[in-house]
Symmetry: C2
């Protein structure tokens, strides 16, 4: 019945437009009563995004099942991939909805609130993992936003290709950019540290850095070390 | 008249609640007609955020006035500071609105669309500046999201402090985190690329440098070492 309501709704949205379709039209076409509609969907907007609640629940369960062995940034990237999977499961439906959402401001607003909830789920997880860090909540919020932006950049490319491009490869590439910026190495090492501060002008400064560290962090450490006396 | 409408609206929102206040109530208290209200505000929601349109226009003008001499990430951080300035100009009003927005889901949705428009303005500017880069649009979207998240993290802290904490210092600190991650050096150096080359994350690079060496030589050595495989 739920699927029948979604199918009827989209048939009408495409035929006559979203604004011109009422809940009554949808239930008539689906052959059910209004009550059945509202049992599944709080509003007409919700029938456009029938799977986000489930996906949000899946994401929260996935994050809750994390352990200390999971590098936090990689983990939130993997959590974001659950959203991609939902879209990729049904390309035709996803592309139709993408076009609909672009045309109807109310749906765009709805989508922004859904995206916000995903972002908060990722940020809450990172806040917990970063609880001991200085600026932990700041970093959690920024990284969650970066993950969502990268995911959505790739998702939109895929939707604009009418679902023809390789969704997974695109999202992997985009999330790879975020991971290379923020993720700690697989060994869970601390960020690069300049060590062996030199006391004498002829002394030598040795910077030891994990190879995977982005250059800016290495430079930052060098500057901090050289500027510290 | 515009200010009088905003003042009347907030007086009523605080007294009886947002949902319980009608546009008629607002215009009666302000002593004007309904038409005057809708001349300034398309809807009741808009009166809650009377300055965002102006601030968005200011932000777009600020970005449009940028030149090649402006480091792009620093420039979008400075653009984000225009939003903070708008909030900080009137702390009492901003704190009242923050509380209201937290309580009314419709206002929260409205705010998310405004935030989205700021983010798009920053991203569009970065997309132009990064036009020649591989992954330029991806990087633009991610950095714009990071800037907005950092700004809003600091803004919310300030609002939660009832406008008592130092708003500028908080936002400077938060945006400093984003700049230190993404901004190019003032010397116009290439963006950090070390991460792209990191094939073996567990490798360790040791850089030995005489303390007197200029920073550019140290960086050159690191780049040469990381790039040598």
């Amino acid at each position: 019945m739920r699927d029948a309501l979604v199918a009827a709704a989209f048939q009408l949205f495409l035929e006559r437009g979203y604004e011109q379709t009422t809940v009554d039209d949808i239930v008539t076409l689906a052959g059910v009563g209004r009550r059945s509609f509202f049992r599944y969907f709080p509003s007409k907007e919700d029938v456009v995004f029938p799977d986000h609640e489930r996906c949000l629940a899946d994401m929260e369960a996935f994050l809750a099942a994390s352990g200390d062995e999971h590098e936090p940034v990689r983990r939130v990237c993997d959590a974001a991939r659950l959203v991609l999977r939902m879209y990729a499961e049904n390309p035709t439906f996803s592309v139709q909805r993408y076009r609909l959402t672009k045309e109807v401001p109310g749906l765009r607003a709805y989508e922004l609130s859904v995206v916000w909830r995903y972002e908060r789920a990722l940020a809450e997880y990172l806040r917990e993992r970063f609880a001991g860090r200085r600026d932990g909540t700041l970093q959690a919020d920024v990284i969650a936003a970066a993950v969502v932006a990268a995911h959505n950049n790739a998702l939109r490319s895929w939707l604009r290709s009418d679902g023809q491009s390789d969704a997974s490869a695109g999202v992997d590439h985009a999330l790879g950019y975020v991971q290379s910026t923020y993720a700690q190495s697989a060994a869970g090492a601390a960020p690069p540290r300049a060590s062996a501060r030199a006391e004498q002008p002829d002394d030598v400064v040795v910077v030891v850095s994990r190879r995977g560290a982005p250059l800016w962090r290495v430079v930052q450490e060098i500057e901090a070390t050289l500027g510290s006396d």
